[in-house]
Amino acid sequence: MTTLTEAPLNDADGLLPSKKKSSGGGLGTYILVRFFLIIPTIFILVTLVFFLMRVIGDPITAAQGGRLPPEALAQRIHEAGYDRPILVQYLEYVGQVATGNFGTTITDRRPVVEMIITFGTATLELAINALIVALLVGIPLGLISAYKRDKAPDAVLRFFAILCYATPVFFAGLLMKLAFSVWLGWLPVAGRASTRTELAMGSLAAPTGIYWLDALRSGNMAAFGDVAAHSVLPALTLGLLTAGVFLRLVRTNVIGTLGKDYVEAGRSRGVSNYRLVTKHAYKPALIPIITVMGLQIALLLGGAVLTESTFEWKGLGYQLVQYLNARDFVAVQGIVVMLAVIVAVTNFIVDVVAALIDPRVRY
C-alpha cells in the first residue's frame, strides 16, 4: 500500500530540473540514461529478494521438510545445487534471471516463467480494468475538485478520495460482494468467469489469456457478457482504491498550476475558467501527475494481490499466496522478481511519456 505521501514531494516543479539536467543532449540521451537506471533497480531487488528468501534456509527444506525422509531431502537439495556456497548460488541465479530463466517450482514442478505467463494474463486483465476505472473516475473528479477548490463539491470529492484510500481493498470487496452479489444478486460472487466460459476460453486456438479480448475475438458474446459481469466488482474494488489516489494527485497538481502566473496571464487575456482548468493548468500539471501515477503501479500490484484473494481471481497474486502458504520459495521468488521487473519497466515507460509531454526535455 504505497503512497499518499509522494504527491507533496514531487510537486509540480520538483521533477523537472533533474530531468532537464540529465537530458544533456536532449530526449535521446534522457531515454538512454533513464533506461540504464532500470538495471541497478532490478539488480538490487533481485539481490534483496534472493538473500532475504535464503535467510530462512534452502527452498527444498522449506517446502518439503518433514514430508520427505532426510536422505531423500538431502538428495533433492544436492540435485538442485542448494548445498553449494550461497555466493555461487547467487551468481548462478543472477545469470539465470538475466537470461530469462527463473527456475522450476518445487510444489508442482512447473517452469516459473510458464507459470507467470499463465497467471500473469489474468492479473494484467484485472490491472487494465482497474486502471480504466481509476482513470475514468480519478482524472475528471480531480479536475472538478481543483476547479471547485474549497467549495462543497471539493469537500465531498476529497472525502470520497480519502475514503477510497482508507478502505482496504479486501473490505471494499467484501462490501460489494454483500451488496451486489448476495443481497441484490446482480453479479457473480467470485472468479474470472463461469465454468462454461472458462472451458470455452481454454479451447481457443491462440488465446491471449485476456478473457474479454478472447471472447470478442471468437465472437462469443455470451462469454463476453459473463466475463464482463465477473470483472465489474474486482475492477471497481481495485480501481476505486487507485482512483482515490489519482483524484488527489490531479487535484493537488492542478491547484498548484492554477496558481501559476501563466494561468493568470491566460485569464488576463479573457480565456474562460473552463479552458484555464482543462488546458492551461491541466497540461503542465500532467508531467508530475504521470510520473507519480507511474509510481502507483506498485500500489496497483499490491492491491491486485489482495483483490485476487478476495475474489478468487486466479492471477499472479492469488497464486503467490498459494505458493507462500505451500512454502514454495522458488515460485515466490520468481513472482516477486517478475513483479519488480514490471514495476521498473513501467516506471521507465511512464517517465519517457512524461518527458515526451514536456517540451523542455523534448527540444
Binding site: M53, F170, F171, L174, L178, V189, L324, N347
Partner: protein, 337 residues
C-alpha cells in the same frame, strides 16, 4: 510587522504543538476535516488503551460462565456484534484489534523515523557516492509493492506466524522496511534544499563544523514535516498490517486480535450473507485510517511552508488558506527586486 515575542518556540511537546497550532490557524472546511480526523484518532487511541476494560470478553475467549459461545451468531444482547465462525465475539475482537494496531504503528513508525531521518540527513548533507548508493536502493525499495516486501520480510522474520510480541515486532519491522525509504527520501530532499539556503551557507562561511550545521541548522528545519509524514504513514501502517493479516502472514488469532485476519475469515461468510463478521472490523479499519489521513491531509494543507513563512514576514496574521490570495497579492509587491 509582528513585533510580539513568540513564546514556546523551544517546543517541548514536539508532536502536539504542531497539531495545536494547525488547529488554531485552520478555518471552515479545513477545521472540519482536522476536527473529524482528530476525534476519530483520539477515539482510536482511547479504545486501544482501554480495550481490556471496555471489551466484554478477551480477544481469544471462546466461552464464558454460560458455556461456549455460539458460532456465526447474528448480533444479540450477549454478543452485540455477533460471533465469528470460530466462535469469537466480534465486538471484543474489534476493540482489542485497536490495541494491536496502535502498538504496531508506534513501534513501526518509531523505528523507521529513527533510521530514515539519520540516513536522510547524512546522505543529503554529504552527497557523493554513498548518497547515490542510498538513493538507488531507496528508490528500488520504494518502487516495489510494499505489501509484497512486507510479506517477504514477515516470512523471513517469523516464518509467517507468531505470538503477540513476536508478531508485533515482525509486522513492525516488515512495515518499517517499507517506510525507511520514504523518510529517507523526504529528509534527504529537505536537507538538500536547506543546504543551499543562505543561512546554512552562512554557517558554512563562518566555519561551522558539519555536525554543528546538521544538528543546529538543518535538523530542526528539515524535520518540520515529520508530523505530516507520521500521520500519513500511520494510516499506511494500519493498511499494511491488515493486508498482512488478511493474507495470513500476520499475528496468530490466539496471540492478538487483528482486523485483517478477521476479515480474511469473513470473506467466506459474505458469500452466505453473514455480514457482521466482516463489516465491523472493516469499518474499524476504515474509520481509523480515515481519521489519521484526515489529520495528515489537514496538516499538509495548513503546512505550506512558503505561505507560512510569508505569513509571518509580511502580514503576520490570518490562516494561510483563506488569505492565500491576499498573501499572493502582497507577496507580488514585496517580491520586487
Amino acid at each position: 510587522m509582528n513585533a510580539t515575542k513568540v513564546s514556546g518556540r523551544k517546543q517541548p511537546l514536539f508532536y502536539r504543538l504542531p497539531v495545536i497550532s494547525h488547529f488554531r490557524s485552520s478555518v471552515g472546511l479545513q477545521r472540519g476535516m482536522l476536527v473529524t480526523g482528530l476525534v476519530l484518532s483520539v477515539v482510536f487511541l482511547l479504545v486501544a488503551v482501554f480495550a481490556p476494560w471496555i471489551a466484554p470478553y478477551g480477544f481469544a475467549q471462546l466461552s464464558d460462565a454460560a458455556g461456549p459461545f455460539p458460532t456465526q451468531q447474528p448480533p444479540s444482547p450477549a454478543h452485540i456484534w455477533g460471533t465469528t465462525v470460530g466462535g469469537y465475539d466480534v465486538y471484543s475482537r474489534v476493540l482489542w484489534g485497536a490495541q494491536t494496531a496502535a502498538v504496531v504503528i508506534i513501534v513501526a513508525v518509531a523505528m523507521s523515523i529513527f533510521l530514515g531521518v539519520a540516513l536522510g540527513l547524512v546522505s543529503g548533507y554529504f552527497g557523493g557516492w554513498l548518497d547515490r548508493v542510498f538513493v538507488v536502493i531507496a528508490d528500488a525499495i520504494y518502487a516495489f509493492p510494499s505489501l509484497l516486501l512486507a510479506i517477504v520480510m514477515s516470512i523471513v522474520i517469523s516464518h509467517g506466524q507468531s505470538s503477540f510480541w513476536g508478531g508485533i515486532v515482525a509486522c513492525s519491522i516488515s512495515i518499517s522496511v517499507v517506510f525507511v525509504p520514504q523518510y529517507f527520501r523526504v529528509i534527504r530532499a529537505e536537507t538538500i534544499r536547506l543546504k543551499a539556503e543562505p543561512y546554512v551557507e552562512s554557517a558554512k562561511v563562518v566555519g561551522a563544523s558539519s555536525i554543528r550545521i546538521m544538528g543546529r541548522h538543518i535538523f530542526k528545519n528539515a524535520t518540520r514535516t515529520l508530523p505530516l509524514i507520521f500521520t500519513l504513514n500511520a494510516s499506511e501502517a494500519i493498511l499494511t498490517l491488515a493486508g498482512l493479516g488478511f493474507l495470513g502472514f500476520g499475528i496468530e488469532p490466539t496471540s492478538a486480535a487483528e482486523w485483517g485476519y478477521d476479515l480474511n475469515k469473513a470473506i467466506a461468510d459474505a458469500s452466505s450473507g453473514i455480514w457482521w463478521t466482516g463489516v465491523y472490523p472493516g469499518t474499524a479499519i476504515v474509520l481509523t485510517v480515515l481519521g489519521l489521513t484526515l489529520v495528515g491531509e489537514s496538516i499538509n494543507d495548513l503546512n505550506d511552508p512558503r505561505l507560512r513563512g510569508r505569513k509571518k514576514a509580511v502580514a503576520g496574521k490570518g490562516g494561510p488558506d483563506s488569505t492565500a490570495g491576499a498573501q499572493a497579492a502582497l507577496e507580488a509587491e514585496s517580491r520586487v527586486l
